[in-house]
Amino acid sequence: MGVLGEMVAAFWTYPFLRHALLAGLIAGFVAPLIGAFVVVRRLSIIADALAHVMLAGVALGYLLGATYPALSRFPVVGYGTAVALIAALLIERLRTTYRSYSELAIPIIMSTGIGLSIVLIGLARGINVDLIGLLFGNILSVTAGDVLRIAALALVVVGTVALFYKELLFLSFDEEAARVSGVPHRALNFIFSALIALVISVAMQVVGTLLISALITLPVAAALRLAKSFRVLMLLSIVFAETSVLVGLTASYAFDLATGGSIVLVAAGILLAVLAAERLRLGHRRRAGALRRRPIGVERGSASARPDEAGRSEECGRSAPPSPAPAKRISAQRLR
């Protein structure tokens, strides 16, 4: 029993721990859910930038709340979400303005957002702003009201993904063909940005603005090595993220560590373990001479995830377009 028994007892006794656990589990569900789309659309950096910009919105919320007490009834995270949404639109605009330097949009928005946050937080001096909590998360400060708010936002995220799943997947895979099929790409891309902003606001208290993109991308990065289908990718990502939340929270309680950091470190540990297991398996296969040709259709019916990249390229004998296998082999070698 030991730590775990003590942990369960503590959750039973202290409401703040229960709230922390619930908030963590909710964030651990929606972050990788959106993360799966974010990663395959190569938008990981944008999620990070939006999380930083959100800080400016939150600071604005604190400042307005302090100046006009009537406004303090709105949650500061609401301001953060609004500012992140505006930033998402600006990024899209800037990407078309700097067509041949489209990645420039992200540092422009991100540094402006951080600059704005610093100035606003400076102005709010004297107001009780938990800056460290905003940056690194303060899951133990989550109240029952926060849990309800987070749960409501998470429901919106899950519902929207369920509604537009086939359109979002099509847009992520082949935007041009999706547009020809009449998928309303502009509206959906905006909705998608809004979902990222919502997820960030859900995860902000749990891991903090600096670590949100870790919760969005790390579990997906691990799942990407194993999943052959998009559904499996989402499922595995969520399993990895929830494991990170549970183990990270327990570890932070047992060893008195920072919670957000612990959760992210566990997620990074899972990713390392997946990569290491992949390499071991690869080495084992090589030694066993398992790289001989297998006829197509052998894996029929196995929707389960199997990291058999090395076998794949050999069996299909594909000629012109570069297959993903060599790159993967190189990355596996790098781990040696």
Partner: protein
């Protein structure tokens, strides 16, 4: 051949002129496609083929001219499920994308289903049927990136076919595919034509094969240099190629557009 042109007009593009910034890409180009017609759109690299496709597919705005699908102006056309499209990107997609063959083909039902409707059992059957048609049903649970280039191409054709389109548009489908797969591809096209009476636009810079396999040919190099029957094209091939590609160009060379020799009059080879 003559009977072909009395059939319903599926696509009418008229007088399309398009420029990127100041640079003219298309100059008064008109194109017609009839039901059951196999049209080969050929021209050198950079001749505006892909731009023309993007305009008729509504991916680029119409600057001048008009496009009608099944008689409806493109501005009001909503029935995109009738058009199956295999983009050039299909040959260069992100092979690391975690999707099975089945998931990729299911995407092709998006237009038919419309918003808010999810694929059910009937859709699963359609997916299997389309995969069966292109001979890829056996690998439906495999990762799309694990297939060979030729197999991937057939999966993308299945994706375009799964919504039962009336028109199939293929942009450079045989690029990056080995000779055997190319043969299979043309056999598949013939089967589609025979069994489903599909109208097909095939974009290619490979004049040789296209002029043998298609009913009609359109030769494009910023403007249209020939639009008519493949037989007519073969009869005057040297002259048309000379005008389109610039004189002195070998027939099958994949050169870039020659700006100097675009003086040739637009040829109407239609019956």
């Amino acid at each position: 051949m003559g009977a072909l042109f009395e059939k319903e007009r599926v696509l009418e593009a008229e007088n399309i002129t398009f420029r990127y910034e100041a640079e003219p890409v298309l100059n008064h180009v008109s194109l017609t496609l009839h039901r059951g017609e196999l049209l080969g759109l050929v021209g050198p690299n950079g001749s505006g083929k892909s731009t023309l496709l993007k305009i008729i597919l509504g991916l680029l705005p119409l600057q001048e001219g008009s496009v009608r699908w099944f008689g409806t102006p493109i501005e009001r056309f909503r029935d995109w499920g009738r058009i199956g499209y295999v983009s050039q990107k299909a040959a260069s997609f992100n092979t690391g994308f975690p999707a099975t063959v089945e998931e990729v083909v299911r995407m092709g039902l998006t237009a038919r289903l419309g918003l808010f409707r999810r694929p059910g059992r009937r859709e699963a059957e359609k997916v299997l049927e389309a995969l069966d048609f292109v001979g890829m049903a056996d690998v439906r649970h495999r990762h799309i990136g694990a297939l060979s280039g030729g197999q991937q191409q057939r999966v993308f054709i299945a994706r375009a076919l799964v919504g039962d389109p009336d028109v199939l548009i293929l942009d450079e489908p045989t690029v990056g595919v080995d000779a055997r797969s190319e043969e299979r591809f043309y056999a598949l096209l013939e089967k589609l034509h025979r069994e489903r009476d599909l109208s097909i636009i095939l974009v290619s810079h490979d004049l040789g094969v296209v002029s043998e396999k298609m009913d009609t040919i359109a030769c494009l190099n910023h403007e249209l240099f020939y639009h008519g029957s493949a037989a007519g094209f073969r009869a005057e091939r040297e002259a048309i190629v000379g005008r389109t590609y610039g004189h002195g160009m070998a027939i099958l060379s994949h050169g870039h557009a020659s700006e100097a020799l675009r003086a040739g009059a637009r040829e109407e080879g239609r019956a």
